[in-house]
C-alpha cells in the first residue's frame, strides 16, 4: 500500500496539473485553440465537477482495504474542487464578461444555467470555510450536516452543465447517472 505521504503528493500534483496546462495556454506556450477564454471556462468547470465526484466516491472506495487511505484525500480534493470553481466563476465574471454588470444581470435573468452554477458555487463555500480540522472538531454533528451540502453542490453543478449544452446531452447525462448511482450506493451503505 502507498504511504500516506506519497499518496498526498500524487493527489496534489495531479490536482495541480489542469492549472498548469491552463497557465501554459494563457501564456501561449501550448495551443488551447482560438477561443481560449471558452476553453479555460470549460476546463475549470470540468475539473471542479470531476473533483467533487471523486470526493463523493472516496467513502465508497474506502470500504475496500486497498483504498482505505484515500479517506485522507477528501479534504485536499474538496478544496481543489472549490479552487477550480472559484477560478471558473472569476474567469466568467472578470474575463468573459469583463465585469459588465448589465451583461451579467442579463445572464442571471435570461439564462437559468447561470443561476444553477451560482447555487452550486454558493453551496460549497461553507464546506471550504469549515474544511480545517479544528472546525470539524468544534462543530461536531453540525459539521456533518454542513458537509451534506456537497450533494446540493454537485447536483446543481450537473444541472448547470446539462442546461448549458447546445444539443448533445450525453456527457453531462453520464455525470447525472454517476451521481445517482453514488447516491443509491450511499443509501445502501447507510442501511447496513
Amino acid at each position: 500500500m502507498l504511504s500516506i505521504k506519497l499518496l498526498k503528493w500524487i493527489a496534489f500534483i495531479l490536482s495541480l496539473l489542469p492549472l498548469i496546462i491552463l497557465i501554459l495556454g494563457i501564456i501561449n506556450f501550448i495551443n488551447l485553440g482560438p477561443n481560449i477564454v471558452e476553453e479555460v471556462l470549460h476546463r475549470t468547470g470540468n475539473t471542479s465537477l470531476n473533483l467533487l465526484m471523486i470526493v463523493l466516491l472516496i467513502p465508497l472506495m474506502a470500504k475496500h482495504s486497498l483504498f482505505r487511505n484515500f479517506l485522507i484525500l477528501s479534504r485536499m480534493l474538496g478544496l481543489f474542487s472549490f479552487f477550480y470553481a472559484a477560478l471558473h466563476l472569476s474567469v466568467y465574471l472578470f474575463i468573459d464578461r469583463s465585469m459588465s454588470i448589465l451583461s451579467i444581470q442579463d445572464d442571471f435573468i435570461s439564462r437559468p444555467y447561470i443561476l444553477a452554477g451560482m447555487i452550486a458555487f454558493i453551496s460549497i463555500i461553507p464546506l471550504a470555510l469549515t474544511s480545517f480540522r479544528r472546525a470539524q472538531i468544534r462543530l461536531k454533528e453540525l459539521w456533518k450536516k454542513i458537509h451534506q451540502l456537497i450533494y446540493l453542490g454537485t447536483a446543481s453543478a450537473i444541472i448547470h452543465y446539462i442546461w448549458q449544452m447546445k444539443i448533445d446531452l450525453s456527457i453531462p447525462m453520464l455525470y447525472l447517472v454517476g451521481f445517482l448511482i453514488i447516491l443509491e450506493l450511499k443509501k445502501g451503505f447507510r442501511a447496513t
Binding site: I26, N35, I167
Partner: protein, 316 residues
Amino acid sequence: MSKTWSQKLRIKQFKDSEVTPEELFDNRRALLKSAVALGLLPSRSYGHVTDIEGYRPWDQESPGILNSFEDITNYNNFYEFGLDKADPARYSHTLETHPWQIEISGLTNKPGVYDLDEIIQSMQLEERVYKLRCVEAWSMIVPWIGFSLGIFLKQFEPQTNANYVQFFTLYDTDMMPGQRSRVLDWPYREGLTMAEAMHPLSFLATGLYGKTLPNQNGAPIRLVVPWKYGFKSIKSIVKIVFTDQKPLTSWNQANAREYGFYSNVNPNVSHPRWSQAYERVLGQGFFTPRVPTEMFNGYGEQVAHLYDGLDLQINY
C-alpha cells in the same frame, strides 16, 4: 460609373495596435511548431487543398483583422464530423469531394444535375473578406473565394412563384460519420428567401486563403451569408431547391425557440443560451474583452431594407 456592391460596403478601420506584430506572430509560430515537435500538439492535415488561380482579389478594406488559416481551419462547427470544434479538422478527411455534383430542382426552368468543376469554370471567382458571426457569440474574419449566389442561381431561371431557396448538405454516413448520431435530423438543410439569396452579399465559397476549401470548412462548396448567424451558411452542398413555401431548416427544426428561420445577427434579441449583445473575436489573447455585436453583423446598410415591415423581435 456606378459603384460596385463591394465599394458600397461600410468599411471599418482597425487600429495598428490591433494587428499582431509580425515578429511576435513568427515567435508564436515557432513556439507552436516546437510544441508540435514535442508531441504536445497534434499536427493537423488540411485534406487535399490546392491553390486557386485567377480569382479577383479583395481590394477593399477588411472588416477586421484576418484570422489565421490555423484558427479558421481548427475551430469549426460541422456536426457531420463530430460535436467538438476540433473534430472536423481531425475527422473530415473521410469526405471525398471529387467528383461532386449539385442537383438543382423545384420551381426552375432548368432543373438538372450539374458537375461542380464545370460550374466553377463557368463562374468568375473572386475573394470576399467577410466577418462570420456564430450564434455561440464568437466571430472571425475569413477571406473566402467563390462567386455570387444570386448570379449563379439566375442561370437556372427560377420561376416567379419561387419565393424561397432550400439547400441540402451531403448525406453519407461513411463519408460523414457524425451523421450516425441523430443529434440533428440529417441531412443538414438551410434556406433563404429569394430576396436574401439574390442579395449581392450572398456568396457561394469554394475556397479560402487562396486555396480550395479544406474539408472541415465545408468543401467543396458552401454558402456564406455574412449578416446571418453562421449556422445558416450551410456546408458541402449537394442540392438546391427553388420552392414557394418557407423551407425546413435544421436548427429551427431542432429547437425553434432558439433558432429562427431568419437568424439575422441581432444584438437586441435575447437568446436563452448566449447573450447576443457582445461577441468574442477569435484568435485574441486571454485578456482581450468581448466587443459589441452590430445589427446584421455590421452589414445593415446593405441588407436592412430586406426586412422592411418585418418585426425582427418575432421573426428572429
